[in-house]
């Protein structure tokens, strides 16, 4: 066996945070310690749904070493949080709606004492009926989980007339797809330290994907001005959307303010599973009809999402899924209806791919089923229905012209996975193994979308130390944002890596850049620098000109300082350090603010900038054990220019393997509102032994002529097209249409047996 991981992306410069990461020197926020630091623990609900009759903390408070216990009575401000609207109690007082609901929190001298203290908090519950299924939640008899009922959000899109269109279709396929509750499984569980400062201020050293938003939510909970809260939100040991919402911050802050001591909370894995966000489980029914020539005429979609106990970004995830229900295909008659439903299951929210993964699995499944029914090659069928560069977006909205769909489809069709006629085809030497191939494509919107506050911005300055300081309100959680910023500043300003100082993830000293989500970071850094670079360079040259008495027209900004254009000098005429010393009283600084580009059509959440991906896989199905192994995986991505090739490659490879887990291994199973999979012994994510032995990642950098939006982010796109490609490859191998993820080995064995039985019955003796 040999691994071949290839790409047209050449590995590039070493990332800024690299040395500290490979030497273990990097202090994650959960590695911090402060003097007099206490340890916090959070008491979560014993039931998925119950009334709270009483809470008594007296005994816990008496335990030696316990310094404070907080309950709902200790929340000075709004006892709720939530990114879209606050419906989740910080500390529950009357009712609990899932097993992650917090009832009390303890600060003690050691973690052990804090844990012990939780056992001494007496909570009297009255258990209530548990809604463990979203369809059950919609029955009139179901208990109502929130004042407005059990429906969090509904979204729809309609065009043409599907009823009439289905009548003239030559073939129709209808299928129901079920997608699992996937866990982000970031390696660093939620945590950090909250430090009380002078004059009622606090510093929150806890990872998040939007420091300013945490600050806003915390101010509302603590009832103190935002200016008194500093959020240090970077670096993080992974997030993938999972740390976008508040997690332990409110409890740490309440305890720190009450005790006057720094309080560290670091959830263990079980606590993280129990309280943390997951990907929305969805049930999606699609009916799709086409003419004999392969033109798809009608597409009807109904989807129901299990959003769990509270809203967080649930409404936006549903909007995204509805928007992407037709993907990159032009279909004249469409009806999409989606509903996101509250249950007593864990909270579902933001997760890499944001609803696109679920709906794309279903959509691509439909295309593959149609292809078989029509007897048309799956790639050809896709081609016949594919959008053109100037076509509107999937919900008929105006979007930035892009030919990404055709580009990725054309490129993936050259993949050796698809073109190389397999000599071992289907049945291998080992009798019970069969191989098959599959391909799928996707289109993915970037940014938060129409109608949502999506401000971006940045700052560049020559600081007093003579460094070109660039500041963004973004976070580094592994995606390589620091490297992207460094590469872009070097390119756009013309300085060297040593000249740059990057400041991110600290509300004390960064401008507002919006969230580090929705594949927007790279995109917004590039756009901010386009706005700032010319005025910044102009000021540098003017100041330099004043200092060295050379006309600015004869100077340029270069490595180490300002250089003469005539090329006669071996070093800068003035270094940045010297220039900084001379501009102390009037520092050079440029700041920019602008919104993420959005469509002009008023479609909630409708996107303007899209990226595309196509994925081809070859799988091996063991008919004896039902095990599916992805042997080869190729992806082609069209997302504009590549800024940091190593990071880009890592995003697509990492996204591919995360999606492989989604397809074949991962499900956070809940029974009656409680987790069955509590840790990595039962929730399985891919290990090095589960990955394809070959992966090839191709980046297509070309954008449409006149495109002014530069690179699109690639944080999410690599996770979307993998699952449907695997499902098709399984069909190719053994004839089974998978409708439910993760693929069940039992289902495969059953399908193989049924097929063999059929063959046996029809065989002549």
């Amino acid at each position: 066996m040999k691994f071949t991981y290839s790409s047209n992306l050449q590995r590039s410069a070493i990332r800024l945070d690299g040395i500290d990461k490979v030497t273990g020197k990097l202090k994650f926020l959960t590695d911090l310690s402060f003097s007099n630091m206490l340890h916090g623990k959070i008491l979560r609900s014993a039931y998925p749904h119950a009334k709270i009759i009483s809470v008594s903390t007296k005994k816990a408070e008496e335990l030696p070493g316990v310094r404070a216990v907080v309950t709902s009575k200790d929340v000075p401000g709004l006892n709720r949080f939530g990114l879209i609207f606050p419906d989740q109690p910080v500390l529950c007082d009357e009712r609990v709606r899932y097993v992650g609901d917090a009832i009390a929190a303890v600060a003690a001298e050691t973690v052990e004492i804090a844990e012990k203290a939780l056992q001494f908090i007496e909570v009297e519950y009255e258990p209530l009926p548990v809604i463990s299924d979203p369809e059950q939640a919609l029955l009139p008899s179901a208990p109502q989980l929130h004042p407005k009922g059990n429906i969090l959000h509904q979204a729809s899109f309609q065009k043409g007339n599907i009823e009439e269109a289905f009548q003239i279709c030559d073939v129709t396929v209808e299928e129901t797809y079920e997608l699992p509750r996937q866990m982000h499984a970031y390696m660093e569980t939620e945590g950090g330290v909250i430090v009380p400062e002078e004059n009622g201020r606090i510093t929150v050293y806890v990872g998040t994907q939007h420091g300013y938003n945490d600050r806003f939510q915390l101010a509302r909970i603590l009832n103190i001005p935002e200016s008194k809260i500093r959020v240090v939100s970077s670096p993080m040991g992974g997030s993938f959307g999972g740390k976008d919402e508040l997690n332990i911050q409110p409890y740490g802050a309440l305890l720190a303010l009450k005790t006057g001591c720094p309080v560290k909370i670091h959830q263990d894995r079980r606590e993280s599973v129990r309280s943390g966000l997951k990907r929305h489980p969805m049930k999606i029914t699609m009916k799709t009809g086409a003419c004999r020539n392969g033109k798809i005429l009608a597409h009807q979609v109904r989807m129901i999402a299990d959003t769990g106990a509270y809203a967080t970004l649930g409404p936006a995830v549903l909007d995204f899924a509805v928007e992407h229900a037709t993907g990159p295909y032009v279909i004249p008659n469409v009806k999409v209806e989606g509903v996101s439903v509250y249950t007593n299951n864990g909270v579902a929210g933001e997760f890499r791919g944001f609803g696109g993964n679920q709906v794309t699995f279903a959509l691509e499944g439909q295309i593959d089923r149609l292809a078989v029914k029509l007897g048309i090659c799956p790639i050809e069928l896709r081609k016949r229905n594919l959008r053109k560069a100037d076509d509107p977006g999937p919900v008929d909205q105006q979007i930035a012209p892009t030919d990404g769909a055709a580009q990725v489809l054309k490129e993936i069709s050259k993949s050796p996975i698809l073109t190389k006629k397999d000599t071992e085809n289907k049945k291998s030497i080992y009798e019970k193994t069969r191989t098959g191939v599959g391909v799928a494509i996707t289109m993915h919107g970037g940014g938060l979308g129409f109608g949502r506050l999506d401000p971006a911005g940045g700052r560049i300055s020559l600081n007093e130390k003579g460094k070109i300081e660039v500041a963004f309100g973004f976070e580094e959680f592994g995606q390589g944002l620091l490297a992207v910023i460094q590469q872009l500043v070097m390119k756009e300003v013309g300085c060297s890596a040593d000249d740059i100082q990057i400041t991110i993830g600290d509300t004390y000293c960064v401008p507002r850049s919006g969230s580090s989500t929705a594949s927007r970071g790279t995109s917004m850094v590039w756009q901010a620098l386009q706005r700032m670079k010319d005025p910044f360079k102009k000021q540098l040259l003017e100041k330099a000109s004043q200092c060295i008495k050379v006309p600015s027209t004869q100077l340029y900004v270069g490595p180490g300082g300002i250089w003469s254009l005539d090329g006669s000098n071996a070093k800068p005429l003035i270094t940045y350090r010297q220039l900084a010393d001379k501009t102390n009283d009037d520092p050079i600084q440029i700041e920019t603010k602008f919104p993420f580009p959005t469509t002009s059509h008023s479609i909630p959440g409708g996107h303007y900038l899209y990226s595309f991906a196509a994925c081809a896989v070859k799988v091996e199905v063991d008919e004896l054990t039902g095990k599916v192994r992805v042997k080869n995986l190729d992806q082609v991505v069209s997302a504009g220019p590549v800024i940091y090739p190593t990071g880009y490659l890592g995003q697509i490879e990492g996204g591919s393997v995360m999606a492989l887990g989604y397809s074949l291994l991962e499900e956070a199973i809940m029974k009656q509102g409680s987790y069955v999979t509590n840790n990595f012994d039962s929730y399985l994510i891919p290990t090095v032994k589960d990955i394809p032995t070959s992966m090839d990642i191709t980046a297509i950098e070309e954008l449409c002529e006149g495109d002014e939006y530069g690179p699109r982010g690639v944080g999410e796109i690599g996770t979307v097209a993998v699952a449907p490609a695997i499902a098709k490859a399984i069909h190719d191998a053994i004839g089974l249409w998978v409708t439910k993820l993760p693929v069940s080995r039992e289902e495969i064995i059953k399908a193989v047996h049924q097929k063999e039985m059929k063959e046996w019955l029809t065989k002549k003796i």
């Binding site: 991981y5 030497t23 982000h184 499984a185 890592g650 990492g654 090095v688």
Partner: protein, 167 residues
């Protein structure tokens, strides 16, 4: 369920500490800790060597991997009494005089992203290369199969090892 007797029980184990001698990254350490304290806690909390991470706490992810007497162990599964008089190497002990070639290969090939699994992963690679001069792919896979990485999909990690073993 909670009465005064229970509260007393909580206090008592805190007083029972044992003496543990360790050689950590070449430095002799003597500590008074609970016999059942986890090695990962000794490293992180007593010795402030926070390069070793905790992620699952049950020996399934390898984020806490260290080398004990030449063997790779999950330090979350080793108790203080088991670590007594043992030689421990953590990420902080690797490449003391500049970067170790493994660290360099990880840097150059994108063998990490968020960096949280990285110290444990690098200790696992170190252990593989201790055992085999020219490890086969199977030996590499076996050696890394106890270390989870959620970011890279292992692509960069495999490339880093290939670079190391080819050179």
């Amino acid at each position: 369920m909670a009465d005064q007797k229970n509260i007393d029980e909580v206090k008592s184990p805190l007083e029972e500490k044992i003496k543990v001698s360790l050689l950590v990254n070449g430095h002799a350490k003597e500590l008074q800790v609970h016999a059942t304290m986890r090695l990962v806690e000794i490293l992180r909390e007593e010795l402030l060597l926070t390069g070793t991470k905790v992620s699952c706490g049950i020996g399934r992810c390898g984020a806490c991997s260290v080398i004990m007497n030449g063997k790779l162990v999950n330090s979350c599964l080793v108790r203080a009494y088991q670590a007594d008089r043992k030689e421990i190497m953590t990420i902080e002990g690797l490449g003391k005089n500049g970067l170790h070639p493994i660290q360099k290969a990880f840097l150059e090939e994108g063998g990490f992203q968020c960096g949280y699994c990285t110290p444990g992963m690098i200790m696992a690679v170190t252990s593989i290369l201790y055992q085999y001069e020219n490890p086969t792919v199977e030996q590499i896979l076996e050696g890394l199969s106890g270390n989870l990485c959620r970011c890279t999909g292992y692509g960069g990690i495999i490339r880093a090892i290939q670079k190391l073993t080819e050179s």
